[in-house]
């Protein structure tokens, strides 16, 4: 539910509660006011009647439009004593109307004689007031709801603009771009706080990320020279007069240095991929690359007694950096060879939609989702460093390819789906528009 809908409902709910209460209050206050003014007027009439009597002129039955009765009385009351009675006169045959009558009786001392003066008047009945109120409340409600519903969206769009601006910026925020977030200015306190917080958080993330990256890049590069020293010294050592068991030690060291070198190079490659150093500038003939890669591996394939079936459609051109095309194919094929069994098969299918590499092999023993993570590898293979697939994944991610893996009936199946023929930049644009629509109201 949208914020604006919540606010609207909340507001309408409050209105629903307030309007009955308010109308009760209005009803009673109007009624009281009417009664009060009627009583006030009648009191005035009584005083005037009393004055007339005092002057010796007997008042008529009607004074100032009110019916007045007066009689002598023995009862002594204070001069300002009034008795107010009200009654409904529905049953009054003369009036035959739903009116209410207010009667004010007062006592006056005129020439030492007490008089009781009674006057009465008709006022509007409460039901009539209520009926009037009901119509006005109805209209009030209708106008209120209509205006709230109609204007809430517009108002919220105006008021929440900075908020949506921040959200949009956040959605486009990419840590890897290492660009600090620039948020729209706002004068609303809450949004100011939000922007301040978001900015602080993302700036910190950007700083941490770039220092971490810098560290790992520097570490990888700094390792290269010591590795070169170790390797060269080992090579010189193996030229000298070496006994059998010393040779084994050197060979083991050579292996370890080799592995270290390879891990280091792969990590550097990964970080360079993340730095977008390999931007695709032109289309490469991927079918040719696939054939070349298969040819390069043919000796190894023969050695492992594997059968290769390939179905390569021509031409398949992809927007991909040439080095990455090589690395991608090398890693996929060498994986298919390594995780195979003697006498097994490899099937390579390439067309404009996808590249599929199928190979026989033992079922994976870890969870499939971990396969593309660095240094996660099946236990059956000790001589790999477990970074090949993560490089493949990274290459796919950088070029908006989609990679899938499954294992069915003894076959490892890796599929790289290429983006459809449409221009990739166009695709991005669509994506942006979609995003834009979604964050609009």
């Amino acid at each position: 539910m949208k914020l604006v809908d919540k606010f609207t409902l909340w507001f309408l709910g409050i209105t629903m509660i307030i309007i009955p209460i308010n109308s009760v209050i209005t009803y009673y206050s109007i009624k009281r006011e009417i009664d009060r003014s009627a009583v006030e007027r009648l009191k005035h009439v009584n005083v005037r009647v009393a004055e007339q009597i005092g002057k010796g002129q007997p008042p008529g039955e009607y004074t100032a439009g009110c019916r007045v009765l007066f009689a002598k009385t023995d009862t002594a009351f204070a001069a300002d004593h009034y008795v107010i009675t009200e009654r409904d006169v529905t049953q009054d045959p003369l009036l035959n109307d739903n009116d209410r009558k207010i009667i004010v009786t007062s006592y006056h001392n005129i020439h030492d004689q007490y008089y009781r003066i009674t006057s009465g008047d008709y006022v509007s009945r409460s039901e009539q007031i209520l009926a009037g109120l009901r119509i006005s409340i109805m209209w009030k409600l209708i106008i209120l709801i209509a205006l709230v519903v109609l204007t809430a969206r517009v108002a919220s769009r105006v008021v929440l603009t900075p908020f949506y601006g921040t959200i949009k910026k956040l959605q486009h925020f990419n840590l890897k771009a290492k660009k600090r977030l620039v948020l729209p200015e706002t004068r609303t306190k809450e949004f100011k706080d939000l922007n301040l917080f978001v900015k602080k958080m993302t700036d910190k993330a950007v700083d941490d990320y770039s220092s971490l990256k810098e560290f790992s890049e520097n570490a990888s590069h700094e390792l290269q020279t010591p590795l070169a020293i170790i390797r060269s010294k080992l090579e010189l050592l193996s030229e000298s007069d070496i006994q059998g068991d010393q040779a084994i030690l050197i060979a083991d060291m050579n292996n370890a240095v080799e592995k270290l070198t390879r891990i280091n190079r792969s990590l550097i490659l990964l970080s360079r991929l993340e730095n977008n150093e390999y931007e695709a500038t032109e289309e490469v003939p991927f079918d040719q690359y696939t054939k070349d890669a298969l040819a390069a591996f043919c000796e190894l394939i023969a050695l492992k007694e594997l059968t290769v079936k390939s179905n390569i459609e021509e031409p398949v051109c992809l927007r991909l950096h040439a080095s990455l095309a090589d690395i991608l194919l090398n890693n996929l094929l060498s994986n298919a060879i390594r995780h195979n069994m003697p006498g097994g098969t490899i099937e390579v299918i390439l067309n404009r939609e996808f590249l599929m590499v199928k190979n026989t092999g033992k079922a994976p023993d870890g969870p499939i989702d971990d396969m593309f993570q660095r240094f996660k590898k099946g236990s059956q293979c000790n001589n790999s460093i477990g970074i090949g697939l993560s490089i493949v994944k990274q290459i796919c991610d950088m070029n908006s390819f989609e990679i899938q893996y499954h294992y069915t009936s003894g076959l490892h199946i890796l599929i790289v789906n290429f983006p459809p023929e449409t221009d990739s930049s166009k695709l991005l644009q669509n994506d942006e528009r979609y995003l834009h629509e979604r964050i609009q109201l």
């Binding site: 290269q224 070169a228 060269s232 030229e239 040779a247």
Partner: protein
């Protein structure tokens, strides 16, 4: 062949100059750009081995220095930073080849020899040792004048052996030479063994001497003293 090594790391520099010395190169070492520039003006070198990151600047400066001073030495860049840009810039600025640290010394030697061949021995594209003769243009190998039926990889490997005569070549170094840097496949060196076996078989079939021998635990060696 006279080589100037510009490398700030003394241990690595000593390894390289020792190795190249054994191969009969005259190898002089500079640890910084200023010293290197002095040496380059005073003496003549066939090849410059150039590290990119040096204490007093970027090694690429040497390339422009060579151009302005009209020095005809070949340049092989040795860099720890195997970024694509450096490589492209280096080659565009006139370097002849680019090798990423950590490299194998026999690989360095093979690259140096290749540069030397390209620059100095204009036209001569035959590398010969006794009865073995390798044509690096046509990628044809002959033994006693008899053409061997070899794959590209086998030819490369034989060339690597002939260039690095009497050197122990580790399986790792051979694998890196044949398959490059980014192959995660070859901790299993069966295929190196297979290739070496094939070469030896083919040379023997052509009545050539089986120069290639196994060095226990370490790898292989092209042994010229074998008869």
């Amino acid at each position: 062949m006279k080589v100037l090594l510009i490398e700030d790391n003394e241990e690595l520099a000593s390894s390289i100059s020792e190795f190249l010395g054994r191969e009969g190169y005259i190898c002089e070492v500079s640890y910084n750009i200023t010293d290197a520039q002095d040496k380059l003006i005073s003496f003549q070198y066939d090849c410059v081995l150039l590290d990119i990151m040096l204490p007093d600047g970027n090694g690429l400066q040497i390339l422009s220095f060579l151009r302005t001073e009209r020095i005809q030495s070949s340049v092989l860049i040795l860099s720890a930073k195997n970024s694509l840009d450096d490589k492209i810039v280096g080659l565009e600025e006139g370097a002849d080849d680019y090798l990423t640290k950590p490299f194998h010394l026999p690989e360095l030697h093979a690259r140096l020899r290749a540069i030397y061949r390209r620059k100095k021995l204009n036209g001569s594209n035959i590398i010969a040792f006794n009865e073995i003769s390798l044509n690096i243009d046509t990628l044809e190998a002959t033994v006693n004048g008899q053409l061997l039926d070899m794959t590209r990889k086998e030819f490369d490997l034989l060339l690597y052996f002939v260039v690095n005569k009497n050197r122990v070549l580790s399986r790792q170094s051979i694998a890196a030479h044949l398959w490059g840097d980014y192959t995660d496949n070859f901790a299993n060196f069966d295929f190196v063994y297979q290739h070496v076996k094939n070469i030896r078989k083919k040379i023997s079939a052509a009545n050539g001497t089986d120069y290639i021998g196994t060095v226990y635990g370490l790898g292989y060696k092209f042994n010229t003293s074998k008869q």
